[in-house]
């Protein structure tokens, strides 16, 4: 019995190779059915994202040829020589494989640790396999456990907390200054990809009053439409600052568009109501001295980057805690897996005991036909109690996870003469 993970990811292979080996939507069905039809392969699922391609395989027979078989298949399917990809592949079996699956689903193996998209992609991959009927008891359970482990990791550690992109970091900081973003007024000063992205996140987090000040008024009007805001003349931005709580500045000017003295005056007019200034322009457009003013919080692009770096570091620390959770879950899964061997034996042991009991009861009834209902019921109860008690301890011993369980299973078969156990489970 073997669970195998064979694959490559952003750490082991460059994008050129990853795209060659990817199973895109149209190829996926073909590939998964072909692999399923290979000898010795009982269950298979394929995860193919832009950062990784992984095959999850379950085989009832522990034969080492399987990996070779798959490699040949990949080579054939993608018309690529084995030498070209073999060195980039990793291959895990059994508990290592289970651990890898849990690490992937919990986003410990991702490019940015803790980013949750991978869980969704994994769910899709397994669901696809389920629909195509290429998975069974083992891989279905593995998927369920991969999802629950990922959820456990997310709730018990802080791996997905705190922003790891500059635009999200800006929103996170705004939430540490203001109670309710929907009550706050926001101004986008200038434009630019990152500024617009941050603005988008702010709007998504509830900011309603949006003002756009652009040097080209028409461009401002266009952006205003996107954000459901209003354009203002660039020259008016100083006046507007009095009624603005959050500013993202990216004007492309080569000098400061706002200095400390101007801001001081504005603060007085706004009665020192706190203001969050985000300057993502390089060279900077807002005089850094502005940060010295009370109730003004000025962050430039480097400050935001520092926040992001720090958060990534925190996530890595949390990943260590997550590893422990995963270890636990792997152990649980492995135990479940190994109880599978003994389940058929337990079932037939039970059936045998039942059969013996029924047979003896029938004989007894024939011998003593004059017994009344109550007496019969009492006898039946007695018989039940004896059989149950007798098979209780062997059942427990067989269910329990232990080193010598294989021996026990075999012994049980012999001791109780349990022949004809179905091999198929």
């Amino acid at each position: 019995m073997k669970i195998i993970v064979l694959g490559l990811n952003h750490k082991t292979a460059a994008v050129q190779l990853r795209e060659k080996l990817a199973f895109n939507n149209d190829k996926l069905q073909d590939a998964i059915l072909k692999i399923k039809s290979l000898p010795q392969i009982d269950e298979v699922a394929i995860l193919s994202t832009c950062n990784r391609v992984e095959l999850y395989i379950y085989s009832r027979n522990s034969n080492n040829n399987i990996v070779d078989l798959i490699k040949d298949f990949i080579s054939d399917f993608h018309s690529i020589k084995r030498e070209e990809f073999e060195n980039s592949l990793y291959c895990y079996t059994d508990s290592e494989a289970i651990k890898h699956v849990f690490k992937v689903s919990s986003s410990l193996d991702s490019m940015i640790i803790g980013e949750p998209q991978i869980l969704g992609q994994m769910k899709d991959a397994f669901e696809f396999a389920l629909n195509k009927k290429t998975t069974g008891v083992i891989l279905n359970k593995l998927m369920k456990k991969a999802i629950s482990t990922a959820k456990r990791v997310r709730t018990e550690t802080k791996i997905s907390e705190n922003a790891v992109s500059i635009s999200f970091a800006a929103v996170e900081l705004a939430k540490k200054i203001f109670k309710d973003l929907s009550q706050k007024s926001f101004m986008l000063l200038g434009a630019g990809e990152m500024a617009e992205l941050a603005a988008k996140h702010l709007v998504a987090n509830g900011v309603k009053d949006v003002k756009i000040a652009n040097r080209t008024y028409e461009r401002g009007c266009e952006l205003a439409k996107d954000f459901n805001g209003r354009a203002i003349k660039f020259e008016d931005f100083l006046k507007e600052l009095v009624n603005t709580d959050i500013v993202i500045c990216s004007t492309g000017a080569s000098h400061y568009v706002l200095n400390k003295t101007q801001m001081q005056k504005i603060m007085k007019e706004r009665k020192y109501s706190p203001v969050f200034l985000i300057d993502i322009s390089v060279p900077r457009n807002l005089d850094p001295d502005i940060n010295d003013l009370d109730n003004v919080y000025l962050y430039n692009i480097d400050d935001l980057q520092k926040v992001v770096d720090n958060n990534i570091l925190e996530r890595k620390k949390e990943a260590e805690k997550a590893e422990k959770i995963i270890e636990e879950e792997v152990e649980k899964f492995f135990k479940w897996l190994s109880t599978l061997d003994s389940i058929p034996v337990i079932i037939s042991l039970r059936q045998k005991a039942e059969a013996v009991k029924e047979e003896e009861l029938e004989k007894f009834k024939h011998k003593f036909p004059h017994l009344n209902k109550d007496q019969l019921a009492a006898i039946e109860q007695l018989a039940n109690a004896i059989t149950n008690k007798l098979i209780h301890s062997p059942t427990v011993a067989l269910k329990e996870y232990s080193e010598d369980r294989e021996v026990l299973t075999e012994a049980a078969k012999k001791l109780f003469n349990l022949n004809g156990i179905e091999e198929e489970y």
Partner: protein, 272 residues
């Protein structure tokens, strides 16, 4: 029973303080519930202790530094529960419990004798005047703790330090709001405490105002908080500066409470 409940109170506030400090410095998840549970336990014993004392003495146990401080702490924890219930900022306890513990520890060093209520205090003004003053002081104590949280968070934001504590502390605006609310709540209580005090003084000592140190320092406290409210309401002040004044205000509260009784000669010293 009285000593036992007091000891238990002390022990529970101490453990809560330790857990609270761990939460601040180590920052592990799930400690805030433990803090709340422990402080509820401590508060239960504290309440029991005060009830026992009330029946043993026959009056509100607030005469003498020990009893007064203990009652002060009781009021602080009570206001803390109200704030916790209303705002659910779990980390607040980590800042308030240490203050409560230090105060109750200080109180345990004072003499704990029980004596009959001095005749001068035997008046219906006693309960009213004292309750008003303690409620005001408790509100100011919590405002002080919230103010400290504000200044910490402000510091993190200004210096761009995104520590774990930064992640746990709430936003500045809510802290500012709670601080403001507590002061607006405590201020009328303080005002009425001073007014009832004056009326009582006229009754007991023959004049409304005698420039007793307790009276002077109460006035200083009153002026400080009046200034905050003036700046906030009339000038629209927000944030750091208003918070700093509220912290000064609480220092004045502490001096009125401890300094006057221990360092200065005051008519309010009923201990001996």
């Amino acid at each position: 029973m009285e000593t036992l409940t007091f000891k238990l109170t002390l022990i529970f506030y101490f453990t809560t303080t330790i857990v609270g400090l761990i939460e601040i410095f180590k920052e592990s998840k799930g400690l805030s519930k433990i803090i709340l549970t422990l402080s509820i336990l401590g508060f239960t014993f504290h309440t029991l202790n005060i009830v026992i004392r009330y029946f043993a003495f026959g009056y509100l146990p607030v005469v003498g530094m020990h009893h007064a401080t203990s009652f002060f702490v009781w009021c602080i924890i009570a206001v803390f529960f109200v704030i916790e219930y209303k705002y659910r900022i779990s980390i607040t306890g980590s800042f308030i419990l240490p203050i409560a513990f230090i105060l109750i520890l200080v109180s345990s060093t004072f003499r704990r004798d029980i004596f009959p209520l001095p005749p001068i205090l035997q008046s219906y003004w006693f309960d009213i005047h004292i309750t008003l003053a303690f409620v005001a002081n408790a509100a100011f104590a919590i405002a002080f703790a919230i103010g400290i949280m504000y200044l910490l968070q402000e510091h993190f934001l200004k210096k761009k330090k995104v520590s774990r504590l930064f992640q746990r502390l709430p936003n500045l605006q809510i802290l500012d709001e709670i601080n403001y609310r507590l002061i607006s709540f405590g201020f009328p209580f303080l005002t009425f405490a001073i007014i009832t005090g004056a009326l009582w003084a006229e009754n007991a000592w023959g004049s409304y105002w005698r420039w007793d140190p307790k009276e002077i320092w109460s006035l200083v406290t009153w002026i400080t908080y009046a200034l905050i409210l003036h700046l906030r309401i009339i000038r629209g002040w927000q944030g750091k500066k208003a918070i700093i004044i509220s912290i000064i205000g609480f220092i004045s509260v502490l001096f009125t409470f401890f300094g006057v009784n221990l360092l200065l000669k005051s008519l309010h010293n009923f201990n001996n």
